[in-house]
Amino acid sequence: MTMPTYVGMPSFPDAARRAVADPRLRANLARATTTIRGRRADAVAELEDWPALREAGRQIKDHVLENLGHYLRLLEEKVAGAGGTVHWARDAAEANRIVADLVKATGESEVVKVKSMATQEIGLNEFLAGEGITAHETDLAELIVQLGDDRPSHILVPAIHRNRSDIRDIFLRAMDDAPEGLTDSPAALAEAARRHLRAKFLSAKVAVSGVNFAVADTGTLVVLESEGNGRMCLTLPETLISVMGVEKIVPTWRDLEVFLQLLPRSSTAERMNPYTSAWTGVHPGDGPRDFHLVLLDNGRTATLADEVGRQALRCIRCSACLNVCPVYQRAGGHAYGSPYPGPIGAILSPQIRGIGSDVDASLPYASSLCGACFDACPVAIDIPEVLVHLRARAVEKGPRHPLERVAMAAAGWTLRSPTRLALAQRGASASRRLVGRGGRIRRLPGPLSAWTETRDAPVPPPESFRAWWARTNGGEGE
């Protein structure tokens, strides 16, 4: 269970500290997320039955998770029956090996890729490079990330941390055929990408894709995209290799009537994304002659075993939770140390990777629990609930924080008894003349200094409410 690219990442607070200090990054993120937030709200408000669609989406996904073995077998049978070959991969290493061997069997040393979270997760491009195979990302944002020797920071728009002039600079530096005098107008940048990739599309023999939905009872695979690079990759090469997490299944073709409404509006705030492709195995005379489907576990079955945490597997990768998250907006995607950033990443990464590392143990805490993510989620993943659930696991199994443990135990001991609480309150009140100069506390000791770096702390009152109530007999004596 690995995501090789991200080994050795700093914990979330350390990475976020650097991001918060970068005004340009914060401006780029704020501009992009504020734009999409308003548009998503409008796109969702347009459908009066959104809550019913959301509930149906949740139930369909839960039904699949409850019957995953049944549906995986059915999908396998249907894909094979339509001329595809199905492979199973326990983890990232196994999936990478399968894909590399399939590419080598074609005799090719280059592949074109359509944006896929699953292949980001397993670090496929890096693995292929080690095997002498060059993977060309064809999604505009992925191309920007790849040419900039960068890491993705958003599920839908991996280069969201870059603004238009950053992108122009990257193109001029790293794109061998970038036009001279390239401007930073989005249309010009898109045109440059079109020219750069066209020859690759027309000559590519092998493509690698992800999968948005796999219809179990027909074996149909579905990919949603915007630019047309997906259609190019799914149509023009002779060999197509698609990698999908085992949870991407929907039972029937009809179920897409729910998800084709939920996903585009949540994701790009469109009534429908420009292009959706669906294919079933191999279609003689149209598209690839050889189709392989790689079914990836990589921690998903472990996630399934957690009754609270498994709801993360409903995720359809729309990224609405990122766009509404105030923490993501300030910390940026890289701080999450995973291809899955934002609120969904904070519950998905520690589950599929395990909670052993500093970054994974810190991710469940990368939230103020404001709940905006839950409201935005089109399949009603209660992200705050899972965060709280995973925090308990981080305390049990993650790196130790002895000071915090002692403080929590002491607070627990005090709060278990009203008498002890009253005593502590008297102590606090007694300290007010010492600590509160000018009615404010400007500096607290130890870990509490994190608060007073930027905020005053409240000065305790002369008496607690409890003391007042007792003294005045419930206010009668006033």
């Binding site: 780029n28 509930e55 280069a159 729910v258 492709s277």
Partner: protein, 206 residues
């Protein structure tokens, strides 16, 4: 143990597989309180409005006016046009532009555009769906050239997503087209025109 067996065993441990009839019964209990359609009234007006929202051009024409409208669309972007050989000939009678029937994939990049029919359309979302059957050609035909002219017959327009999906055969290759190629990858603002056709013209025959 093979990866397949091991993954299925891991799943079985958590959620044991139930008999198919039980799975089907549980599937049948999924609450589908959502609507089958969001708009009553004229779906063609809605369709035209929604297609235009994507910055595609859309025109309603009478059956007798198709050829003339096609000729105008092609004249606006001169060059050779690819067409499937089973495209109704009356649609391109007098098209003006040179037509290449069933062009090879290698020839596609040299074409100005492609003219096709479709399998269905969705009014609510302004989507046109090709199943690459009659009058549509293979997927590459309407992908590689920079201009795609689609002719939609009025009865092909479904009011909303659920009805449209019912009309389709999932075992066919399917392409859903909603406006010209676009991207939101630069500052999350939509820009038309990346790898797919940058110009989308739609004629609704009614």
């Amino acid at each position: 143990m093979s990866a397949r067996e091991e993954i299925l065993r891991r799943i079985e441990r958590v959620t044991p597989t139930r008999p198919a009839a039980e799975v089907a019964a549980s599937y049948g209990r999924i609450d589908r309180a959502y609507r089958r359609r969001h708009h009553d009234g004229d779906v063609l007006d809605l369709f035209a409005e929604r297609v235009a929202d994507y910055r595609a051009t859309v025109r309603r024409v009478a059956p007798s006016g198709v050829a003339g409208a096609v000729a105008e669309c092609l004249a606006a972007r001169p060059g050779s046009y690819g067409v499937p050989s089973d495209l109704p000939p009356e649609w391109v009678a007098g098209a003006g532009a040179p037509l290449v029937r069933d062009p090879s994939v290698a020839a596609l990049d040299g074409l100005a555009g492609a003219v096709t029919g479709c399998a269905a359309a969705i009014a609510e979302t302004g989507t046109i769906i090709l199943d690459h059957g009659p009058a549509q050609g293979p997927r590459a035909l309407s992908l590689v050239p920079d201009h795609h002219l689609i002719i939609v017959r009025a009865e092909q327009v479904a009011p909303d997503v659920p009805d449209a999906l019912e009309r389709l055969d999932p075992l066919r290759p399917l392409t859903f087209v909603s406006g010209p190629s676009a991207t939101s990858d630069i500052e999350l603002s939509r820009v038309e025109g990346v790898h797919g056709p940058r110009t989308l013209d739609v004629l609704v025959v009614a």
